[in-house]
Symmetry: C2
Subunit: 303 residues, 2 copies
């Protein structure tokens, strides 16, 4: 019997994990601050993760074998530097401790490529030094290090380092959502010159990777990424062409941020070799899927 306690289950990453958890036969308990999602296979608990006593008694009642901790502050833009990151670090540590004290066996939580030293370009779990340049990255790295120290003595812990996830339900303020949403409104999509390269992964492939990590004993950090570097310019162009509105794309209309590193791509050999994971979506398949879902969503909203 595998019973998982999921935090942040109603978020972008959480939703992708829930379907995979169901597929793998987990009994699912998920927390949410707002209204529960419509998901028959999930038992929702409305609880504030900032209240350790509430979490403690809930965990005692649920007695989960697995913990999938996804919740964190994620407001686009401000999350990089928000002091809330330290609150989430403390909450995460408290949650790990409470879960362990209730006899839980396996924890996976999500970190970020922002933990790595971005000057190296290609990020590998073992050989790339961690040197976060943001408070977000530092707080995630501290949670990762805490979790790694807990590994052993009947508890196994893993850490999923997420790269640039996209797909249905992603923020309109991120790529490629920013292009899709503008073009769907027949408005110009203003982009920087987009020469920087990033590692994009479809959210469903990410969800399968995270749940596969949870359902294993793999310890320490595992990159969740495609292993492919794509120029932002290429991503924007492909997206606009698939929508059929290439003329509305304004490359170079906004200045590039001075601090943008030229290359951030992950090595995903650990994910592939240790967990047997393979991506189901190529970038162009993933973009088609995302654009179609966005259109249906918009149609649904308008209907």
């Amino acid at each position: 019997m595998k019973r998982v306690f999921v935090t942040g289950g109603s978020g972008f990453v959480g939703r992708a994990c829930l379907s995979e958890l169901t597929a793998r036969g987990f009994e699912i308990h998920a927390t949410t601050r707002g209204a529960p999602l419509n998901s028959a296979r999930t038992q929702w608990h409305q609880v504030d993760l900032g209240k350790p006593a509430d979490i403690g008694s809930l965990l005692l009642r649920v007695q989960p074998t697995h913990l999938l901790h996804l919740a964190w502050c994620a407001k686009p833009g401000s999350f990089w530097t928000s002091p809330e990151n330290l609150d989430w670090l403390d909450r995460s540590i408290g949650l790990f401790q409470a879960f362990s004290q209730c006899g839980g066996k396996r924890i996976v939580a999500t970190g970020s490529c922002a933990e790595y030293d971005w000057s190296t370009g290609v990020c590998h779990e073992v050989t790339t030094p961690c040197r976060p340049s943001t408070l977000y990255g530092r707080a995630k790295l501290a949670a990762a290090a805490y979790l790694e120290a807990m590994n052993g003595h009947g508890l196994s812990t893993g850490w999923a380092r997420l790269f640039f996830l996209y797909g249905p339900g992603a923020s309109e303020q991120r790529m490629p959502g920013v292009v899709i949403s503008a073009l769907n409104r027949d408005e110009p999509a203003n982009c920087s010159d987009g020469t920087q390269r990033r590692d994009f992964l479809h959210i469903e492939d990410a969800g399968r990777a995270i749940v596969s990590l949870l359902d294993s004993d793999l310890a320490g950090p595992t990159n969740v990424c495609s292993g492919q570097a794509t120029q932002i310019l290429d991503l924007a162009t492909q997206t606009a062409e698939l929508i059929g509105k290439r003329d509305l794309l304004r490359i170079g209309a906004v200045p590039s941020a001075a601090s943008e590193p030229p290359l951030i791509v992950g090595d995903n050999s650990r994910l592939r070799d240790e967990l047997g994971w393979i991506a189901r979506y190529s970038l162009s398949q993933g973009l088609r899927h995302t654009i179609a879902a966005w259109r249906n969503q918009t149609v649904a909203k308008c209907a």
Copy 2:
């Protein structure tokens, strides 16, 4: 007014820091579980660091501007794998939080070269990945990461990564104490073949480095090391020759541990360039000083 709260002040590293803190004009408050040291310039507090409420009220009373956190489990041999490391991690985090809540401004705590990936040989704060192979190293790394996340918003934090410290008062179970103590008893000193190279630093040089870091705003990890790699064999031979009992040294009498990495040496350019630190002891000077102090200690014990 600089008022420092020192944990582990009566230990090997603590004693070396106290004299340097005095020299730099700190008002010193130090914790000890046992009897206070005879040190006129230090106010000793007998307190159990495992009792957060006691620590909290003590910090509120003392109102320190600086925290120098040295206490940790250190029993030779067992400390590498002891579950106590996780208790010390939690205590450390609680202490950092309590100090910050009392309005403290600067924290320095001590880590270890055991945080690095030892397969790299030369350890540099920025370019060497951290990949501890022991629970001790993982718990120290987690404390370091937590402290680094706290840096900012009126609090500055630094982390001293200690390498192989030796000198008067060091454990007889470590080099060169193991050789000195055996030869002082006219007994053979049994050593492995000693081909591995390590970075040895005299405890007084380490104390000056740690306090210099505390008295600065330098954030993140700083190696506290000599930057010189010395073969264990050389160290043992030099020590035996200085004592005049080379014939009692039995090189190769015990097997080398299979897991001993061939080289662990630190890059100390951050310590030298950012803090203006220079070592006062060469290895041979340091060994002479240590042997003399050990002799006086033995004489004092016998008197």
